[in-house]
Assembly symmetry: D5
């Protein structure tokens, strides 16, 4: 039976929870609808995070991104929502979501938003940066 | 009122019908569904043609490509069908459609098909090539 | 009725005002006139900002950039003015405008200017940098 | 006194008329208006030709391209018109004009048209190609 | 149940057998063993063909390439064998297999071999080339 | 007699132990098996370290990476394990392992993990960064 | 009357003296003579600065760089001298001159030198860096 | 004693006169003067030829190109003259000179001219092309 | 026992002698001496051929290229000699050797020479080209 | 009389000793021998330094690098030795040597080592970094 688009993000246990390390996903296949015109929008997403107890399961991430296909969504809002959903599902130490939206009106828009677990950031140098 | 996906390809009169010249469209925003799994497929299309009496109207091309969004379509079949539909609508002297489909199973597929008006090709050197 | 060039920059409410995040516009279509010779100048603009309460509306940004088409403008001055106008309209936490001007006299000029809301910068590490 | 946009294309005498050789201009600074919406369009033009008796004078080419700035012009039509005007002014043995128009509706359009002096082509291999 | 490496190449019916068109696969995931040292070899394969009655089924191509994983194979021989097997399975009008083998002894080797159906080539201009 | 895959990492004495300097390996030839499906996975590894008393011997690194060829291994786990094994064998001052895994389900994954000898990091500015 | 090479650098008033912003010139057309052999040397210069009260006038910069055409000049010395002359003429808050000299003896040389107004650097974080 | 710019092109005997083979020079260091304004012009030259009895000596080519440094020269004329001089000095079977001239008035000009020894071309397929 | 530089080129039997196919070697590690100055020269060689009965053995090719390390050799001569030696050892249907020599006197030289077995070329279309 | 490989590094007086500035050499022509097998090794060196009283003389650097041609040298050791020799000869404020060694066993190795004059570093921010 084929997969279905799903808002449920599945996770698996982080195999190296004692170490701060970085996982990055490159997701060129994203489409949703413009809430004003109903026409398709396309974006290329880059997701980077430092896992705490849970890692993002790859197939469920694919289904989650698919779930936007028939939804109206503004560029700024949906990029933030993807970050919120992924943070809620995996409680990472840090996570960044960057969406490169395709050109509209001769202008290309990119939205980049970041979450840092306050506790994690404080134990480090305050910047929350891994590298 | 917003646009709607449409199979109707509109055309306009070729402003220079006495000259063999080439028009090329670069269309990175294409998505349809896999007929087997129902999951989304993505492709980047390149369309090149030599108009005869009619040229492809740009906005109607956008709506036409959008019309595949909810349809199941095999890579090889849909690429040929786009060529067939564009040829039927504009009766060009020559037309090539090339679809770069995104990676599946670790393999990337590209399909390239060409139409040459037999009458046009015969008046030239038989290869139907413009350049 | 077609759009008109306009100095009025429209905004919409920031959907995630609690988060510092970055929006970047890539604007390759800009032209104005040289104030000395009256001849056309061309530039490619890059605009990056951290919104506070208001975000830049994309279509109004396009019309705003269009409004320079018939105006004489020195490279250094117009780049700063675009930053000033965008800051006045949206009161961002931070904004950078970078203009890549096309080659004149064998030399290419790029102007990059940045605004940081003093209150915002102070709450951070003093550098005002997001990343 | 500053230059003015001008439809007058000036030429100079070909210094090597006995040889078939190729001159290519790369012109990234072109803008006109969309005849339907009145909004600006941008294009990057590439012009290649084999001169016969006259060569295109560079500054007059710049002024000629400038003359489209306030004119409405369809992509396909203006590209052919530039070729027609340049052919009329210089009577080349061969000339190609290629216009790369900026993205509209998510699709990028390129128009490429070629003129070959029938007499010149016949003395060669019929293809009119220099290389 | 998971897939297994397999020498069986599956096909499906060509949806446009009346047209000569080109299908290209980009396969960066190939490994076999060096017949002399038993050490792993890696290659990036590019497969291009004009189908006749049958097309190569993508998943079975993946399994077929996987079947070399534990086999010893010389660069020149295995590239030719892949072409032979694909030709036997699909009887194409034309097919090219190009293997880019990873560097050994400071030298990178690429092997490119082509099959042309004699009947198909004769009906064309004798070169068997599609473009 | 040919080499064999081996978990034994050999080392040699650091020729300049008084200096903090960086050695980087670029390893494009890595394959293992997916623990769920048994199908091959491929990755490109980048290893960077500051040696203390011992350096990684190049040929033994090749054999070590080869040893994963027939093993099931999750992306996140194997990248961390390679770092653990290399740290155990060479006790470096700092080491980073970055694995670029090939695309699965339309998404590319990269895992990057870092070890810093606590004693070494403390003598520096606390960031453990060489540059 | 044509321009002449000139050591006189002209300036104009900074239109935004209240803001620290960056102006960058890309100057690929530079040539001088080797002081030892008298043979031509070529370089590609990159000049970046933060203006204080005066900005560098573009045409005078072109004439200034031209003035080296017939002068003997060592790579290291002339790069520093260009910085000294530009600093003397414009009194910037910060300026960097980078010269990429063409290959000699199989080796390419790049010289990069920076000036920071001590007063300006002190008011910032001590590094004098704009970004 | 240092070299001097020189119009004398030296040659050496072709070591393989029985074979048609190609020699290509990439010459990024060329400058002359604009005959109208006296200002410097720059170009990047590419020279390709099939030697007959004599080959171009590399150092003398360098001195020859240097000899234009203080001469006024139109783009089209000097490119043809370089071809004429090299043909006169070496009597090649075929030679092409391509000059990429730096941007002037926002337009980049490239001039490409070719010489084919009529006797040589006739013995081949008439096109004079080596590849 | 380590390898030694050697003029002996070893071959192995072509596994697919019935097919015209192409083998290409990319050899970035080549050095010899300038016969005039005794100083080192470097080149990057590209070798492409269609085997007849024998193929070039990779390790012996490496040793053969190594054998030039202490020899004086002019660019044009050594490129032709490598072609001659490889043709003598393997009697290919066609072979091309292209040497990209590193920059000397500001000029980069590339030499490209080709051998075609007259019998093989005649059975084809006379051009001896595989593609 | 031709040059000879030499371990003697010559220097000249720094023309701007009052300024911290950076000189970078790009040296793609380096070869030595593998101490284990006697076979040639190749590397591309990048040298960057801040001069104090003395600068590296370019031709003597070329001869110094040449002097390794017939010497056995491990990757890690020779990169450190080149830094040691250059530091001993010029006593720079800071110097970095980075060697990109060509691929061996499918793995590419890069070694990067840095010297900082303790006195110079202390007067700065402790990092010894120029930029």
């Amino acid at each position: 039976m084929p997969s279905q688009p799903s808002r449920e993000l599945e996770t698996f246990e982080n195999p190296s929870p004692d170490r701060d390390y970085e996982i990055a996903f490159d997701c060129p296949e994203f489409t949703c609808l413009c809430p004003l015109t109903g026409q398709p929008d396309f974006a290329h997403f880059h997701i980077t995070y430092v896992p705490d107890r849970q890692c993002v399961e790859l197939k469920s991430l694919k289904l989650y991104l698919w779930s936007y296909r028939d939804q109206g969504a503004f560029h700024e809002k949906v990029t933030n929502q993807i970050l919120d959903d992924l943070v809620a599902a995996t409680r990472p130490r840090m996570m960044e979501v960057r969406g490169e939206w395709f050109v509209r009106g001769g202008i290309t828009t990119e939205v980049r938003c970041t979450y840092i677990d306050p506790a994690w950031g404080r134990d480090r140098d305050g910047s929350g940066s891994v590298s």
